[in-house]
Symmetry: C2
Subunit: 100 residues, 2 copies
């Protein structure tokens, strides 16, 4: 599944609702899912449940991108397509204390 | 770019650092990027900057998935591959007040 396919899938499922809700309300839903992901990562018990929490965060991120008119694949290629944006290398050779 | 390609790209760039940092420290980096995305969405000024903040959140989500051993494409297909997980339809026909 490509990132464009993901954005289309979420647009087809939820686009009508998303456009009514707007970016602020959607961000609050996204954050709720981020919290659930945190709990699932901390628990470390059920791999299937953990995977579903990742899916929810990714789906809400795709929703936010759809509302904001952002192409996730183009964004990833622009930022990470030529190696680490910090040092330009693959693998990253930035100082360990630096971001990322 | 497929979700698997994204996970491999991030693994090649940062896998060595990620495995040393662990899930807790990585989650804190992820949250910092989520905060920057919030600021960029609120500002609503520069589309290129906004896209890069989406890229960062997505990259750190891929990092978390790599550390946790989660296949993002399989997770999305499991949760959203057969229509809305709430009502089973595309587009979603859940009550507007319900999640999502």
């Amino acid at each position: 599944m490509t990132l464009a396919h993901l954005q289309h899938l979420i647009q087809n499922l939820y686009g009508a609702k998303d456009s009514r809700r707007g970016v602020e309300g959607t961000f609050m839903w996204f954050m709720e899912e981020v919290g659930e992901l945190s709990a699932a990562l901390r628990g470390g018990k059920d791999p299937a449940h953990l995977a579903l929490e990742f899916a929810d965060v990714l789906a809400w991120l795709a929703t936010l991108a759809n509302i904001a008119g952002v192409d996730l694949e183009a964004a990833i290629r622009a930022k990470y397509g030529d190696g680490c944006p910090g040092c330009g290398r693959t693998p990253c050779a930035c100082n360990g204390a630096e971001k990322p």
